[in-house]
């Protein structure tokens, strides 16, 4: 038994994973992780590691999601599910403040107190780890900070699990976000399942991560486990289900605003907004102002909103700026892959594939990007 530090890896067995959940809960954390429920692998509060989806995998395609039984007991052999961590860090509805009007018209505004659950997220995929970093940048990296988000985020302990079983809709390699975990985790693990047993190669990324690991039953990382873990992640990189065209996507999107392809995709897109709800980086919200029956107590809420809503771009007198479905799909995709760079210094897409899976008509952002690229090539060199 060794002491885990930020630079030394150790190996946990399944009982180590059990202890991980126990230790985090004992530290007052709400542990959230994947679990199999109603035919999907959802993110939910876990009371024990036994609730992890051992032996479950997923079958993914455009517009298609199905959990399948695996012939092994892997806990993390599934890729992105219907939710993402934004459901916890940026909940669908958040009260921002409450206000009261006194008898003399006096206005008293009370900020919401931010004492969120202190979460531990178990099983953050590398793409989602990047998605969290991207939302951090959007909501707290600019001149104005979203304090409520900051409080939820500061309290969250992140346990990344590298990908060894990418889905058919995954393209993290194209986006440079996986399948190995980038920075930002407290603990990163790689699941290894071979003749030598079921185990997890773990390393700490922060002092608290090292503290937690040290409390778990573990052993020093042996060369065979290290090799098996690295090979599994390397192999995953070669098994991506999707790719993006190998070009500067920001330039591609900036240069194709008038492409014919937008009409094509618009003829298929239902502007339902599912892709924005499922996407781990989409952050847009609207506000709701409500009053109680007396009319003297008011609240301001923010809730998720989709750029596919007609009202999203409403201007008094002028109506919606983006009235056509074509302009709304274009807004979403150019924002994800292009203008996000201008606004927030990175891509807004991490290649998780959720938008492809949860689109009712199987519209595929990678296919659309390839089509735009092809159209741009054809335009440059008319045959």
């Amino acid at each position: 038994m060794g002491t885990a530090t930020t630079d030394s890896a150790c190996v946990l067995d399944r009982d180590g994973l059990d202890a991980l959940v126990r230790v985090l809960r004992a530290r007052g954390r709400t542990v959230v992780g994947p679990t199999q429920r109603d035919g999907a692998i959802v993110l939910a509060e876990l009371e024990s590691a036994a609730e992890l989806p051992y032996g479950w995998g997923v079958e993914l395609e455009g517009g298609h999601y199905r959990v399948i039984r695996r012939d092994d007991e892997a806990a993390f052999a599934h890729s992105a599910g219907p939710q993402s961590w934004k459901n916890f860090l940026l909940p669908q509805r958040v009260r921002q403040w409450t206000a009261d009007r006194g008898p003399d018209g006096e206005l008293t505004v009370r900020p919401e107190r931010h004492d969120p659950a202190s979460y531990a997220f178990l099983g953050v995929r590398p793409c989602d780890l990047r998605a969290i970093a991207i939302q951090d940048r959007v909501l707290t990296g600019g001149r104005h900070k979203d304090d409520a988000y900051r409080a939820r985020r500061d309290g969250a302990f992140l346990i990344a699990v590298e990908c060894t079983e990418p889905g058919a809709t995954c393209f993290c390699v194209s986006m440079g976000t996986g399948p190995a975990a980038g920075p930002g985790y407290d603990i990163a693990m790689t699941e290894v399942l071979d003749g030598a047993g079921h185990r997890f190669l773990a390393r700490a990324g922060t002092a608290e991560g090292a503290d937690v690991l040290a409390e778990l039953p573990h052993r020093a990382a042996d060369p065979a486990t290290r090799t098996a873990a690295h090979e599994a992640v390397d192999a995953a990189a070669g098994r991506m289900g999707r790719t993006m065209p190998p070009v500067d996507l920001r330039a591609l999107l900036a240069g194709t605003l008038d492409a014919e392809r937008w009409n094509d995709v618009a003829s298929r897109c239902l502007t339902c907004g599912n892709c924005t709800m499922a996407c781990p980086t989409c952050f847009c919200t609207t506000t709701e102002d409500v009053t109680d029956l007396t009319g003297d107590h008011a609240e301001r809420w923010s809730r998720w909103e989709s750029c596919y809503d007609l009202d999203f771009s409403h201007l008094s007198g002028a109506g919606p700026v983006r009235a056509s479905g074509r302009s709304r799909y274009r807004q979403w995709m150019t924002h994800k892959l292009g203008t996000w760079h201008d606004q927030f210094g990175s891509s807004g897409c991490v290649g998780c594939g959720r938008c492809i899976v949860w689109c009712p008509v199987a519209i595929d952002i990678t296919e659309e990007a390839h089509a735009l690229h092809q159209e741009a090539l054809d335009k440059d060199s008319p045959s």
Binding site: W97, G105, L107, H144, L257, T285, S327, Q343
Partner: protein, 268 residues
């Protein structure tokens, strides 16, 4: 200052037109950080909601003027406020008019409709420091003579030129009829040394900028104030995107060299 509204009291209201009111606000307790011409506040009407409203006057005592046109639920509620009422205020937000950029230049201030509101404090700043620039030209377009804002003040703005034109003349109107760009023939400026400040409906902005480019102004000397839907004004709600820009943060005032390619894409 930017997340939670501060209470401001309505101390005076002045009807400008049938649907537009100028309100004077004073902080009930603490004041927001100082505003500058072209910047805006999120003004909260109790229980109804918030709207982005440009500052139309910056008073030495910390008071602010806002001119609001009743266009929907929130703006109607703001127009209906009586003295004594309290609103919530967040701000200041956005880029302002870059007056230092125009140092020594002739100035063209071109407004369409309610677009005159954000330009009023700019004109006042110019009038207060006349030595900093060349000739001041104010060009105002309104739908009808009855829609003209700040009627009592306009005479003092002709340094040397303040022109008014309307789309539809009423009985008794002796002034000009036509789009605001027709006033450019009367304005006194030398294009190579002129900065323009333009606010109004988007088609008016584009037509004005086109005309100014044609007359030889450099695109980055044409500053335009753009409008998009805004909910948070802090860059977090995503509504005010115009391509690469978040207009609450990178605007509303944008140089035309950046705005032109974006405005020319339909439904961007």
């Amino acid at each position: 200052m930017t997340a939670i509204p501060l209470p401001y009291r309505v101390v005076e209201t002045r009807p400008e037109t049938a649907d537009t009111v100028t309100v004077r606000l004073e902080p009930v307790h603490e004041a927001l950080p100082p505003f500058a011409p072209g910047r805006f506040a999120m003004v909260y009407a109790f229980g109804v909601g918030e709207a982005p409203v440009s500052v139309a006057g910056i008073l030495p005592d910390g008071g602010l003027l806002h001119t609001v046109r009743a266009a929907g639920a929130v703006s109607r509620a703001l127009c209906a406020l009586a003295p004594g009422a309290v609103v919530g205020m967040r701000g200041p937000f956005g880029t302002g008019w870059d007056l230092p950029l125009a140092a020594g230049d002739d100035l063209l201030v071109v407004a369409g409709g309610i677009g005159l509101a954000p330009l009023r404090p700019l004109v006042q700043a110019v009038l207060a420091a006349p030595q900093g620039h060349g000739r001041l030209n104010v060009l105002i377009g309104a739908r009808t003579p009855d829609d003209l804002l700040y009627r009592g003040e306009l005479d003092g703005w002709a340094r040397p030129y303040c022109g008014i034109t309307v789309d539809r003349p009423g009985a008794g109107w002796r002034g000009r009829v036509g789009v605001v760009t027709t006033l450019l023939d009367e304005a006194l400026f030398s294009p190579a040394g002129t900065t323009a400040f333009v606010c109004g409906p988007e088609i008016m902005i584009r037509a004005t900028a086109r005309d100014l480019l044609h007359r030889g102004l450099a695109p980055d000397r044409i500053l335009v104030s753009l409008e998009r839907n805004m909910h948070c004004a802090t860059g977090h709600c995503g509504h005010c995107q115009l391509g690469p820009l978040l207009l609450c943060r990178d605007g509303p005032v944008v140089g035309y060299e950046r705005a032109e390619p974006l405005l020319s894409v339909r439904e961007l």
